[in-house]
Symmetry: C2
Subunit: 534 residues, 2 copies
Amino acid sequence: MELIGRSFIGNARGQEGGPLLHAINPLTGEPLSPAYAAATAAETAHAVELAAAAAPQLAQTNGKQRAHFLRHVADGLQEAMPELVARAQLETALPVARLQGETARTCGQLRLFASLIEEGSWVDARIDPALPDRHPLPRPDLRSMMRPLGPVAVFGASNFPLAFSAAGGDTASALAAGCPVVVKAHSAHPGTSEIVARVLAHSIAACNMPEGTYSLLYGAGAQVGTALVRHPKIQAVAFTGSLHGGRALMDAAAARPQPIPCFTEMSGVNPVFLLPGIFEHDPVQLAEGIYNSFTLGSGQFCTKPGLIFFTPGAGCERFLARLRELVSSSQPWPLLTPAIAGAYQSCSQLRATQAERSAQAEARDDAPACSARAQLFHVGVKQYLAEPQLAEEIFGPTTLLVECPNDASMIEAATALHGQLTATILGPAQELAAHQQLIALLEAKAGRILFNGFPTGVEVCHAMVHGGPYPSTSDARFTSVGTRAIYRFVRPVCFQGFPDEQLPEELRNGNPCGILRLVDGVSTREAILPKTVR
Amino acid sequence: MELIGRSFIGNARGQEGGPLLHAINPLTGEPLSPAYAAATAAETAHAVELAAAAAPQLAQTNGKQRAHFLRHVADGLQEAMPELVARAQLETALPVARLQGETARTCGQLRLFASLIEEGSWVDARIDPALPDRHPLPRPDLRSMMRPLGPVAVFGASNFPLAFSAAGGDTASALAAGCPVVVKAHSAHPGTSEIVARVLAHSIAACNMPEGTYSLLYGAGAQVGTALVRHPKIQAVAFTGSLHGGRALMDAAAARPQPIPCFTEMSGVNPVFLLPGIFEHDPVQLAEGIYNSFTLGSGQFCTKPGLIFFTPGAGCERFLARLRELVSSSQPWPLLTPAIAGAYQSCSQLRATQAERSAQAEARDDAPACSARAQLFHVGVKQYLAEPQLAEEIFGPTTLLVECPNDASMIEAATALHGQLTATILGPAQELAAHQQLIALLEAKAGRILFNGFPTGVEVCHAMVHGGPYPSTSDARFTSVGTRAIYRFVRPVCFQGFPDEQLPEELRNGNPCGILRLVDGVSTREAILPKTVR
């Protein structure tokens, strides 16, 4: 189906002519058709008004209805996979296999949230039945559960055109919670977003969801995005992107007359700590694992390991030699956008003035327009600690080796870390027990701590935490990946003394939803008996 | 034991001489001894440093150890009840029975959190075991649970010198979570706070908790409080008080280089909606119920019903007459502080220029120094909607009747409401079903919705929600009362690929804590079998 380059505003398409944007083909540097018209201020406001009008209706749908809708969207995306992958490939230069996998992951996320809300226990239903005979005072009947916050503004990320974008994890978890969503599409992949939004529009109609359940707006973040966050009817924000952009949204959300929750997933260097014994096993395989992790997706993952702390020992030279060899011989890595390519160029040039560049891939005349040469930097821990810029993220295929003479200096480096999405320890299992202090330190710094794994690859499951202390995210109490992500968009509401038939289904005596509930502090699926209710 | 008027800084008492503060006896207006020396900037910073040093040790204690500590504190407070009540009575002029009840409630809160963390399932342990044979990619072993945020700054409230103060719900939930606490004592009841802090200091020593687990600082909020919120090692804030004060803390927390969670419970008018049929039953009893609720604690409850929406009908006149009678004949109500008494005076004078004052208690020469005459205001809904000031809280024994000609105008008034802690509907049960729109509207505005009850009286239990949309609190996703309050101070941490013996007890295969865990998405207390682990 032809792309028309217009925002999705409720059930309609944008009509007014805002400034035009073009996606750029990162391989050629050429603009792609069609042109995308930025949403005007009036269109942005209208999308939010439609979302606000949909909010109470969506809040009245039950988990099974919303699950059906999410699965319909997943089926639609799966059906659109060939078209999606073809367009995303043009817009992002990501490999076809990766884009197919990412589409599957996006469908999987939607289906996981569908299962969660269909089962229903996630609402954290709590019932403290009345105790009319209690002394000195009777206890009233109190029942509470999680309910949706209202319209959520979602910002698509550049580096995951599907899984963290128009129908990505933020959208899936907000819709699952019962919140309408207004997406600010990322300007790097507007066509991919248009195909996704078309699927959503179709599912909204097919599943009888209210108009305004979903809108998708094109435009610059500074205009459309800021207007969204400031709109009084937006009740929460979810963003994946840069520290600079995320902090600006946090500040805007906090400065509103009514401050609103703003979950921004921003940045990090995902430190890796190599325990001394690691080199004794297979230093070549270790080098390959690290190399594959920091170049995965051309090093454009938010979980890319950007700092490798190590203590030289037997086998270390072989590890370093293999790492240098892999970097030196690597092909040019395509990057997502001209801006990312430019930032990689300037940041890595700056880093070369602060640390030794121990390996660099060759320059190639036939490299894509937006691309990067892999680079490996190396620095001593003293210098690392003296120059805070060395701890900053460089988006792209590069990492920094930090040589630590001993455990104490590694602890010092861990202590100085900012908040991170992940922190990794690699080493023999028997050595881990001697590093309790390191584990405790990293636990305080990161949302996910790995042992003998690589941080890239974020499993979408119940136990995942893709969050962490600032500046990795705005609020370490939440995650943007996994089923816990739904809790960003809900709040508990307590019903006191309500007649059974006026309560939400989840809180009724008979437990018609069959969910797990906390009754008088005890988890149970059992109904509440009339004699308990009195 | 004699009060010495010094801050508690870890295991020591303040030594330096900051500005001196005195509590005021609200009955006489006279200052009470001793003088309280404000913590200096250095003392404040030292208390936070001690808390930060204690944080990793406290994070390593298990739920049973912390439960023992909380129970020890509760026992100590119970033992100190005569001394506490005597001093609190001098500082607050609250009735002895109320202060005894509040002490019991404070002990009850500590014990409820003790039970919660002793049982242990609150940590939301989640385990997604490894799937090494999964295609196309294996799944690593992922396990996550809630872990403490670190040092929490707690601000005591003026109106609950025990239950929302030095060892109140915020302190109890933060300590239960495993976070050290630094309290900024409220200047209205420094002696009560000193007795409470002495109990805590004793329990810390007796239970071998680390120094810095608890400190209590005296001083003005603008100095000590702001310094606390800005200190880089403070990781969360809990506050109960005015909108002005709470918003200032929210802004300070959001403006930090590292923004931190800031839960402020601020204000509200707790609207009450009377369905037309209500007057047919017992209008006199209804008037007495409403009167008792808005004058409870001299109208100084954050859940005081400050707006009563009603539609005149049969029996309404008897209701109004009885309400006027109760207000007119009421004794002077003592207030907590000269500042609260002054604000009540000026705010109610202003209100008398905007609404009809339909009843007022007599002025009395023998009234306490800080006291208030009960007042009843009355206004039509049109005027109410036209003057936003009429929807503002007045702290003290007064409420505003808003006359609505019909259901539609009541809906209009409900739509215009700001966020609230509570919203109440009173009426015949059979009439409630015809008011779905009102219920849905109030659900979107408040944290707790009551039917045929009064909002004052906040039960400390599992299902309670004492929170709500801004401006009632800073973040509707949390509550400051009830066991859910613990989630303000924790964040999920995920362990990937960790050897069983290096995991926190709650996440180990054998489930030695016997807690409920989400294993592969299913709630269970069962251990994970080796074959599942592979």
